[in-house]
Each structure stands twice: as structure tokens, then as C-alpha cells.
């Protein structure tokens, strides 16, 4: 189960007014609980090899939309400016442009989103630290998909 699917579920929860939702798809189970201030989304996988909790994503309270991961004040998100395919590294087998914990400055290339062979270098606009990478290498992204969360310094 990927981030867009989880976002869809969060939206479904908001639209329906239901307080809690649990969905099992294959080995993945998602439980979304709507609280007063934050929503909690926990994705677990039944696979023994993987860590029991893959993603913990918090989203702002209803009716704020779209549900972007923003657990603490002042965090900045980097969103995709176009529909395309996300690449974490400049070439297959190369190291990722950035990793969680890396310090970044304005102009630092964070990833590439390819749309019809137009390679869009997504650059950081603030100085800070990468605290989350939201998309897997090779995954399709939509316009506005959150790619990174940065804590400005």
C-alpha cells in the first residue's frame, strides 16, 4: 500500500465522518483513527522480515485538506510540481540525492520527477534537515504529492 492510497483512505474517512477505519489489503493493514487535533495513521505489514510499523503519518485535523504529513509546527513539505515518476537517485545504483537526517540548503537537488522524459530536478527551497522521504524510487506521483518533509533551520 502506498502513500497515495493511504491519502485516499484518509480522504474517505474525512468525507464519511467515520471516526476510525481499518483496511487490510494483502499483507498490509492500515488503521486510521481520527482524533481531536491530529489523525493517526499506522501501516503495519504482516511480513515477518519487515519492521512491524512501516510508516507513521500524522495529518492535520478535519476539515483541513489536503491531508499532508505535518506533525509539528514549522515543518515544510516539498511537493511534486508535476505528474510523473519519482527517482531518488541520479542513476540506477547510485546513492540517493538525499537521506533522512541530511542537512540541505536552497538549490540542493532532492530528487527527479520524470514526465515524458522531461527530467525535473526538484530543488530544496529552504535550509534545514530532511526529516521524511515520502515516496519510493520509481513510484508514480501526482501533482502536489508530498515528496519530502524538511525541518527548517
Amino acid at each position: 500500500m502506498n502513500i497515495p492510497e493511504i491519502k485516499e483512505l484518509i480522504q474517505a474517512l474525512i468525507d464519511s465522518g467515520v471516526a476510525e477505519l481499518e483496511v487490510q489489503r494483502g499483507e498490509n493493514r492500515v488503521r486510521i483513527v481520527r482524533g481531536g487535533a491530529v489523525q493517526e495513521v499506522v501501516v503495519t505489514t504482516a511480513s515477518a522480515a519487515a519492521a512491524p510499523v512501516q510508516h507513521v503519518v500524522s495529518a492535520p485535523a478535519v476539515p483541513a485538506a489536503p491531508p499532508a504529513p505535518k506533525a509539528e509546527e514549522g515543518l515544510q513539505t516539498v511537493k511534486s510540481p508535476i505528474v510523473g515518476t519519482y527517482y531518488a537517485a541520479p542513476s540506477p545504483g547510485a546513492s540517493d540525492f538525499v537521506n533522512v537526517g541530511d542537512s540541505v540548503k536552497p538549490g540542493k537537488v532532492l530528487c527527479i520527477v520524470e514526465s515524458m522524459k522531461l527530467m525535473n530536478e526538484i530543488e530544496c527551497e529552504v535550509s534545514g534537515t530532511i526529516i521524511a522521504k515520502h515516496v519510493e524510487n520509481g513510484q508514480p506521483v501526482e501533482y502536489g504529492t508530498t515528496l519530502f518533509t524538511v525541518r527548517p533551520s
Binding site: 508535476i82 505528474v83 510523473g84 515518476t85 527517482y87 541520479p90 542513476s91 540506477p92 547510485a94 520524470e114 514526465s115 515524458m116 522524459k117 522531461l118 527530467m119 525535473n120 530536478e121 530543488e123 520509481g138 513510484q139 508514480p140
Partner: protein
Amino acid sequence: MPFNPDLVRAAFPGRRVDFYKETGSTMTLAAKVHEDGAVIIADSQTGGIGRYNRPWHSAPSDGLYFTVVLRTTPLPVLTMAIGLAVQEAIARYTGLHCDIRWPNDLLANGKKCCGILTQLHEERVLAGIGINVNHESFPFELDAIATSLRVETGRTWPREALLIEVLNSIEAFLRLPQDAVLAAFTQQSSYVRGRRVAVELNGTEVRGITAGLDANGYLLLDDDNGRRHTILAGGVRPCS
């Protein structure tokens, strides 16, 4: 024949035209160039790149390897418009009609003779174009997939005149509205409809039949299980 950049400069007065006998990649040089329409040409590249940093064979004196800097709105179909522009320029200049593999590889007899890589870099589009012009043959590992205008037409071509033709054609195609680009592409590419192809989607190979372009120019694919996919990025290839 050595490349004479002055012929190109004379055809486009006021335009920046840089020529390098040898360089790593024109894309790297173009990243530092800001003038709209500037052209960075190399007679040979030691590190020519294609999509996703794959190497591009850039033999000295045989090909046209250049990057055009465009301060233009990067419509998604821009990359298709550039492919169409190069296709038309080659057809007009040499008489060779190439097929276009979505979104912009030019093929002659099923082999690639031109590759195009576009990068969005600091508000500019860098359009890197490699055309195999006067290559007599290719290294063994490329022989089955690459061809040149010379191999296909049986003669050599002056690269300066071809480049001038290509640059004029790019200017004309970039003025077209999106629906005109999509209509031209649908007409010119055998890959748009009814073509059996394989493509990597989200890490998995999907095989199926192409089913036209959507309103934004993305390629539609009906897979073997009857599911429709929208192809966002390159990597489409024919399959059994």
C-alpha cells in the same frame, strides 16, 4: 569534415552558439548557460548521457551532439514537440522518415538514430539532442539497436546544415498549441495505438497494447489482463 560553428552562428545572428571539440556532456555545460535559445555543441562527448544517466555513444566527428537552452513554459508535451521537430527536420533535409517511439526516440527501421533528453533546470529547459549522422557503423553492443542517417540513406550529410534545419524546426514546433502537438504526434508515431509494448511501471514490467494518448499526451496501455494504465515516463519498448 570538421564541424564549422560559424555556419550556425551566421544562420542565427544574436544567438549564443558555443562549440567544443570535446567535452564531458553538453548538458553539464548548458546548465550554466542562461540565454534563451543558446546552443551548446560538442564534436565529441566523453560522458554523453541519456535518460536516467545512461551513456550515449558520442563518437567524434560523426554525430550532432548539442543542448538547446529554452526559457519556455515546460508543458509536458514539450518533449514530444521537440521529437516531432527533429523528425521533421531530418525528413525535410535527408528524405529519411523516422518513426517516433513515445515520447521522443527517433527510429529508422526499428533502430534508434536520435535520442532526446530534456531537463528542467532552474526555470530553464535544457533539451539535449543526439543525432547519429555520419556513423559508418556502431560498436557491437549497439549494432542491433542503433543506426545513423548515413547507414539508412547511404551517404554522409553536412552536420551544420542539418543542425540549422533542426533549430528552425524546434522554433516552429514550440509555437504549436498542445492539441496540435498531440494530433501531429498521433499521426507520426506508430507507437501511439495498437502497438504491443512492455514498460516498467512502479518496478514491475507490464505488457500490453497501446491505446492512444490521453488529453495531456500520456500514453495509454491496455495490459494483458484488460487493465488500462497511463504511462508517465519513458522506457516503452516493443515486445512479443
